[in-house]
Amino acid sequence: MPRQVNNIDQPGSVAGLAAGNALQASVEIRDVCKSYGEEWERQDVIKDLTLDILPGKLTVVVGPSGCGKSTLVNLIAGFERPDRGAILLNGRRVTGPSRDRMVVFQETALIPWQTTYQNVVFGPKLRGDLKGKALRQRAHELLTKVGLQDFIHKYPLQLSGGMQRRAELARALINQPQIMIMDEPFRGLDAMSRGLMQEFFLRLFEENRRTNLYVTSEIDEAIFLADRLVVLSNRPAQLRAVIDIDLPRPRHYQVLSSPEAFEYKREAMEILHQEAMRSFRPSATGRLPGRR
């Protein structure tokens, strides 16, 4: 059985690997703490989290709902700062949002007053690093790739859920990020389009193996997509396990019914179940577990 739980405590070991490929950044999360609220009711959301996101790998983070996954995304994206510890992108400290870390948000964050095309060219136009014909060409290329070539002048509200997610993928990709961060991107889709989107996303990833951090609360999705599966504890988020998912690529949906996948699932479920049960017990302060 291909199974191995990594020792993640090896700081600095992955930074060098990324040097060659611009798409394959590494992210090191070093002893990161983050808490919210005023002093007297401060709640730790992330506590002493150390984790490497390996270059060219699809790292999937799972954890009980409300465990701080979205906070982790916000920290890596640079929308928020850690209270302590550091987040390093290719060995350099993250201090704010930047195009090298694009986020695909929960539900959809396409800008409603821009058409699909305007959404996609938004970033390059702001920065002015890709212009005129070259920009148009690149945008059309990407929109064709995600199958939206006939919908470029529609507004996001006119697109179906799956189309919105694909438009958002195109919008992220045109900025040529070094790492894609996906925060439960396919949440809210029906089961059918969800499955299709997962497969579509995998094809996209397998094409050039851009470093990817994918946050989800669905274990099937996690195992289907992941190279490495990171299981977080209940809030405050701490690392519970890192499981290398050694299923063959390119993957197709059938892979989930293989005995190996089942074994991974059983293992991850065990840990998640323990954590989920803990989240139902009242916390030390007597409060219910807080919001996400």
């Binding site: 929308f79 195009r99 007053w113 702001l126 006119q158």
Partner: protein
Amino acid sequence: MASVGEVSRPIGVARSRRSFLRRTLGRQEFWRGCVAIMVFLALWEIGSRSGEWFGYTLPYVGLLPPPSDVAVAWSKVLMKWGYWESWYQSFKRVLTGFIVAQIIGIPFGLMLAINKYFRDIFFPPFEALRPIPPLAWVPASLIFWPTNEMSIAFVTFLGAFFTIVINVLGGARTVDVRYLRAAQSMGANNWHLFWRIVLPGILPSIFTGAAVGMGITWEVVVAAEMISSGGTQGGGGLGFFIWNSYMGGSIPQIVVGMISIGIAGYLSSTVIRMIGHRAMPWRNLF
């Protein structure tokens, strides 16, 4: 043409050349509205002509002049210069108050939304002044402002101002933080964030505020004109037109004035809706 087809036209290509009038006349909604008004007028005519049904005086309608009398009164004033002067005066006051309220109110609301210090300083007095009805300002502003005209404009300004500010402030708070974050990731600076995300994000609230504010300015201007007697002859505005008719005992002419204000208000809000329609194409998709 199907509405979806219209929206998906490439950016910059002019919309259908069919005239506004022909589009309106071709719509079922328009004819339904006409029928409703006809039925309403017919019931009113019957009600006020018969005066009472089954031995009881009809409330309101029983004592009102029938629409035919109103129409006759209207046809008489239509020829008079004073009637149109009243329209002009009221519109001028409404527009002055309204536009000044927009010019001051929108930036003020934005500042309240964006800057914490500004909000800490200006929000409490704003909230304390807001519950005071605009009409309560009339006596004070008559004393304070040098001319009648200015005090009426000031009171109409107040009517729209508070609504506009509250709408802008509320709208700014509903701008989705994810849009801001996505834009930041893509390299947007504060200038971009404001013009590309925040401003379009609050545009719907600005237009809601404008529509509500426009309604209030009409309420206020009419009352202000009645109280201040609108100044000299002919320059009284529609509010004074009604008051004058009341003093003169001409009930049909009172109704003419009321309907005139109704039409004026409807025209104003239609214009705002049309501008909103144009300014926010992503809002009229369905």
